[in-house]
């Protein structure tokens, strides 16, 4: 999902997650109406990251990830697995605030992955990252065995990992299609660059 600043991407995420209420329209999951309370998302197999970092600074990295594992026993093995997956297991005992920004974003990804979601919602995961980190992120998104909903401004990333792209502008969808289709869409270019006038 892409769109210019203020298009309503995060708001849509918030509606899906139950942080905000939609004035019209409905959300469905598995063909059933879906209006969850935010903390019930994980029961539906949905995990989400936040813009920037939403970290628990008073807990170690390992504990941060353990928090993400709901249902059943929160095992350290599962947490380590997620940390390994994101390449930050060596920091398990550190406090997130002591890590560089990029590593903190990885910790947050690890927390989301640890719950083994079937839908992973990523809100601008590439924001503030350098190209090396973005490459790693792209690799992760490509290889992860789950549906990923991605809100992102980084076009290269979007184009390289997405199967389908939704373009929002002023709260309205203006285009939907594969990367190739979107790339050529005039309306999209207009929305991003402003009308010629």
């Amino acid at each position: 999902m892409i769109g210019p600043n203020g298009a309503g991407k995060t708001t849509l995420f918030n509606v899906i997650c139950g942080f905000a209420v939609a004035q019209s329209g409905a959300i469905a999951l598995d063909g059933k109406p879906f209006r969850p309370r935010p903390h019930h998302l994980s029961r539906h197999g949905i995990a989400r990251t936040l813009q920037g970092v939403g970290q628990f600074n008073g807990m170690t990295v390992l504990e941060n990830v353990l928090v993400g594992i709901r249902g059943g026993r929160a095992t350290e093995e599962a947490a380590y697995e997620a940390l390994e997956r994101c390449g930050v297991s060596e920091f398990a005992g550190a406090y997130p605030a002591s890590l560089p920004y990029a590593k903190r974003k990885r910790v947050e990804l690890a927390r989301a992955l640890a719950s083994r979601p079937r839908i992973l919602m990523l809100d601008e995961p590439a924001g503030g990252l350098d190209s090396e980190e973005i490459d790693w992120l792209a690799e992760l998104i490509r290889t992860v065995e789950t549906t990923v909903l991605l809100v992102e401004h980084h076009m290269d990333l979007v184009m390289s990992v997405c199967d389908e792209i939704l373009v929002l502008d002023f709260g309205k969808p203006i285009a939907l299609g594969s990367p190739g289709e979107i790339r050529g869409n005039e309306k999209v270019a207009e929305a991003y660059l402003g009308t010629a006038a």
């Binding site: 995060t10 995420f13 918030n14």
Partner: protein, 292 residues
């Protein structure tokens, strides 16, 4: 009806003092995000200074000015000497330091002046004007209203019409950005504390003649009522502080008058619960920023 009128005016004149004191709490909260639990003790210290000057010179007004100026200096000193060095990573640290200051101030005052009530003069007669047999307001009450009104007006002017006020607000909301813009954030913080302490001292001077007298603990109860008022109105809102103060004053008067003094604290609790459940950030809170 007579009784209702009487209680209304009784409540308003006390409420005005709560309002002034609550305003002092709001000022510091806005400037430093600290609930200044030492506000009461600081106001008492200033009032003692005023008391000493009044006793030495025989002039109430010299004492009054000393108290307010003393409050100003004490506020600045507390910020410069102590609060500046508090680690604010946990909001509790500031609270605990403030509580420590309360003990120090009360202890030192007790050592200097003794734990006795000292009589406090009122500059105007406290005999109420009678209208149709109902005692309404005294000259002193009018003085209280005028003083509190003046303070509110001056603060409003300061914050909305002067560059200093603008800088203080900026420093409080975004210290880092303000620093880049050349606002002396530390200085603004000191100024905020000084102003708040001066307003608190003024409220203290106003309340002392209406209560038992001057005592190291004289403002403990005022602090409780004023804090309640500030929370009720919304800690970010000066208007809320004034309205909250008046509401608490009226509530205490009505409940004490109609139901008995014993139940008054329960009434305050119930009011707080009702208001805060409806509006968790007080009556005059602004809309919240988006959560995610």
């Amino acid at each position: 009806m007579d009784r209702f009128l009487y209680l209304t005016f009784d409540g308003l004149s006390r409420g005005a003092i709560y309002a002034a004191f609550a305003l002092a709490l709001v000022l510091i909260w806005r400037a430093a995000r600290i609930v200044n639990f030492a506000q009461g003790a600081m106001a008492v210290a200033a009032a003692y200074a005023g008391y000493s000057v009044t006793n030495a010179t025989g002039s109430y007004w010299l004492g009054f000015i000393t108290a307010v100026a003393g409050g100003l200096l004490l506020g600045a000193a507390v910020e410069r000497v102590v609060m500046r060095f508090v680690d604010h990573s946990s909001p509790l640290n500031g609270v605990v330091v403030a509580l420590g200051l309360v003990l120090i101030i009360q202890g030192v005052l007790g050592m200097i002046y003794g734990n006795e009530f000292r009589p406090a003069q009122a500059p105007f007669s406290r005999d109420a004007f009678q209208i149709g047999g109902v005692a309404l307001l005294s000259r002193y009450d009018l003085f209280v209203f005028a003083a509190v009104g003046t303070v509110v007006a001056l603060l409003t002017l300061l914050f909305t019409r002067t560059p200093t006020g603008l800088r203080m607000r900026a420093a409080a909301f975004a210290p880092d950005v303000s620093r880049l813009l050349g606002v002396p954030v530390g200085g603004m913080l000191t100024l905020g504390w000084a102003l708040a302490a001066a307003v608190g001292s003024l409220a203290g001077m106003l309340v002392v003649p209406t209560e038992l007298g001057l005592h190291p603990n004289a403002m403990d109860l005022l602090f409780i009522s004023a804090f309640t008022a500030a929370v009720l109105g919304g800690l970010d809102s000066p208007v809320g502080a004034v309205v909250g103060g008046l509401v608490v004053g009226l509530l205490l008067a009505y409940v004490s008058g109609y139901l008995g003094a014993t139940v008054a604290p329960m009434a305050v609790l119930i009011l707080l619960v009702v208001v805060l459940l409806g509006r968790p950030d007080g009556l005059f809170s602004k809309a919240k920023a988006r959560t995610a």
